[in-house]
Symmetry: C2
Subunit: 161 residues, 2 copies
Amino acid sequence: MPKIDLDTLKWRTGSGYPGKLGQMFDGRSQTALGDPHGLTQFGVNLVRLAPGAMSSLRHWHMQQDEFAIVTEGECTLVDDHGEHVLQVGDCAAFPAGDANGHHLINKTDAPATFLVVGSRTETETAFYSDLDMMVTDEGNGFAFTRQNGSPLTAKEIGDDQ
Amino acid sequence: MPKIDLDTLKWRTGSGYPGKLGQMFDGRSQTALGDPHGLTQFGVNLVRLAPGAMSSLRHWHMQQDEFAIVTEGECTLVDDHGEHVLQVGDCAAFPAGDANGHHLINKTDAPATFLVVGSRTETETAFYSDLDMMVTDEGNGFAFTRQNGSPLTAKEIGDDQ
């Protein structure tokens, strides 16, 4: 059935970020709309942000295009150029390789939701803008390191506290 | 700038369908959100349907995934299983190769808009469900024929009237 039953979506919380960095995402939940409905060529997710929550650490992708549209509430897009308020229906495009780190934050007192589409690629590297970290996927899972490839320290990922 | 200025979008009307089939789409207009903002790996379009207008002839894609979300008004998804009303925020997924012809119709008295995402592939074939027609793209543009590859007649595309 092409129409997606929004009432039966399975929302998940949790983060793949290393150490205590993941604890910054307790207010974020997401659900896949594409994969469970047979789409394989690009990813489609709905992401809900509780007040104060953010979509991700500010980052940019080497290989994968991203596109987002706000579907509920208000999100603030933060990138290298500052802050940009996105209301329901507002859209943003993030071309692969554009070194403009970005994320969405819910700075309001009400829930916010956005739909995000991303390319599928066999490998990927993404760089984080506000800390010395990158994530690489050579086809066998995500590996978080410093941007020169060296290991992150316990202090850098909050595990010394 | 990642945030898309919705006030400066260039909407276009018109249809690539052969003969007078294209005249059925005067109430449809669309604007690309991905390409003008640097995305190359998938297509993103906003499509506006005036009352009575439809998104396309009912069709399905051999190679390309499609995804749609209604952003304004109400659309009726018509597929092999009947009619399914999509309100704002409702989504539909159309996996490549699923031979379930589909299109969206605005059956209301108010404008309706949806956002649609589609894969990019080097070649493509799509089949139409309500007439003996297919479209093929071997990388050098669209060719409309009968589903056995033979030419469409003037009568079949309304050019005899």
